[in-house]
């Protein structure tokens, strides 16, 4: 089943990337998380017809990609899915909004076309930005940043547990699926007569596993209030990265760089 293999591959890929020695991997997670959010807020706040500012926001991603050696092609599969969804939602823009703003080779360029393209660019940039965060930050570091933002311990523990068990469960589901497909070849999905027993028995095993996990956690002295994560120090490099990042983003968002460059040549 491709879906399961893809998911396992995806998690493995992120694990490998996080273990690489890159500048961004060693930065404080809180600053990376805050900068990711700031980027998203600035990007989504751009006027739907302001295509140049939207494109300018890509400069930040380009710099991160080059400096951090983060190839964008790794997220092309996710990009396809996001773009498909955005096309469905935005396809009406060029059809309904037909105000012509200019002509290129006698082809009318409408405001609807511009807003549609801007929507696609925004979606792609937002996804690449989140991908950069995950590719350079481990799950423990993200949890540490969330804890610094005063997110409740319980939510962080649940989040970490889900992440840790996903790979185990995905492998189990893959085994179940392989066994089922060998008994029912050429079948598109699980037949409805097997729905309840297949998932039901897997669910019962999962609940038993949860019981064992709880008992082992208890034996190790687990307490939700004493949940500790390895401390990450705030260093000069992280603060500098954050300051430069904020400045760069504000410049890209509020100063019409492309227009300024254009005026030089006119």
């Amino acid at each position: 089943m491709n879906k399961i293999e893809n998911a396992i591959y995806q998690i493995d890929m992120f694990d490998k990337q996080i273990n690489q020695k890159s500048i961004f991997n060693q930065l404080h997670p809180l600053f990376k998380l805050l900068l990711t959010f700031l980027y998203l807020i600035l990007l989504t706040s751009i006027n739907p017809y302001d295509i140049f500012t939207t494109i300018a926001m890509g400069i930040y991603l380009f710099i991160i990609s080059i400096v951090g050696n983060l190839p964008i092609k790794n997220c092309k599969k996710q990009l396809k899915v996001v773009l498909l969804l955005l096309i469905i939602v935005g396809i009406a823009n060029p059809i309904i909004d037909r105000r012509v703003i200019t002509y290129i080779n006698n082809i009318p360029i409408t405001t609807g076309m511009i807003s549609f393209i801007t929507l696609l660019i925004k979606g792609s940039f937002a996804l690449i930005n989140t991908y950069f965060l995950i590719a350079t930050t481990s799950i423990e570091s993200i949890c540490y940043a969330l804890k610094m933002l005063h997110l409740p311990n319980m939510l962080i523990i649940v989040f970490m547990l889900i992440y840790r068990y996903i790979t185990v469960f995905l492998k189990q589901v893959e085994d179940i699926w392989t066994a089922y497909s060998m008994r029912a070849p050429k079948q598109k999905g699980v037949h409805y007569t097997a729905w309840k027993s297949l998932i039901g028995s897997f669910m019962l095993r999962s609940i038993d596993r949860a019981q064992n996990v709880y008992e082992s956690m208890e034996l190790r002295g687990f307490s939700p209030d004493m949940f500790l994560l390895e401390k990450r120090k705030i260093n000069v490099r992280s603060v500098s990265y954050f300051t430069i990042g904020v400045m760069l983003l504000l410049i890209l968002r509020f100063i019409p760089i492309f227009n300024m460059i254009g005026y030089i040549f006119i």
Binding site: V82, G123, I134, V158, F169, M217
Partner: protein
Amino acid sequence: MHMSDALVSPAVGTTMLIASGLAAAYSIKKIKQEDDFKKKIPTMGVMGAFVFATQMVNFTIPGTGSSGHLCGGLLLSAILGPYGGFLSMIGVLLIQCLFFADGGLLALGGNIWNMAFYGCFVGSLIWKLIMKNGMSKKKIIVSSIIGSVVALQLGAFSVVIETMLSGVTELPFGVFLTAMQPIHLAIGLVEGLITAGVLCFIYEARPEMLWSPTQKMDKQSKLSYSKTIAILVCSFIIIGGGISLLASSNPDGLEWSIEKITGDTEIEKKESNIYTETEKIQNATAILPDYAIKNNDSIIGTSISGIIGCGITVIFLIGLGTIIKFKRKKEKVKDE
């Protein structure tokens, strides 16, 4: 139904994050009041991973040739209760967003609201109402299907509202709604059937694992039957009266299609045939023609018509329920 970051404006994204955050904080507060909350934490984590993994399995939909998958909000609530289920779903959605690009980070609040909040809280409210007098296989099937359908319909409606408020699409409200609601009705039905199958299996094998509201309701019944009905009535008034004001004056999906073909939203009627006769009957019997009071085109008219419409539906459903109950009682007496 996962929304991407590009589909929400910062204002909508932040508002939904705050709303979902408040719901999460309330859930944590409530779950900490439970006796076995420590035990629930690993169960929530493991069950979240279980839902994530089972979402990868496609189930054949009989007679259609297509397949669907489990969403999990109601399933988690039926095992962990609404609060535990909601927190687990937050974890699942956060991982989907970060590692699999299923939904954006800024849109996370909206996605939690659309998928986890309705699935867990509205779904479990329906579960609670149906299981009030004990659990049975039939009740599990009915509550799973109704819960999934209602949760998905509300979720799809919220997606439309959030996208429209963000101003990213030129799609008219009516057309967008027409595109979203029917497809999610079908998805809801399939999800309801899968959830029902799995929960019936658990009921047969280990019924004690299912969340039974009756035990706790006896101890700490905070929301009585009358209060629930009062809340539902208030919701009808708000939805029927308030939200109907937001209803688009543009033609709906079908009218829009007709207008594109004929140039008018109404199909041309033929003289002296059955159409004229039926129209006469309809005009005479319709209390609220075109969702407004007769001879009144004002906004208040639309609002009142919304409230009256909701009221008539409720009365009709209660009446139908009473008739069925009465008939069943009669049959029972006959059998005895």
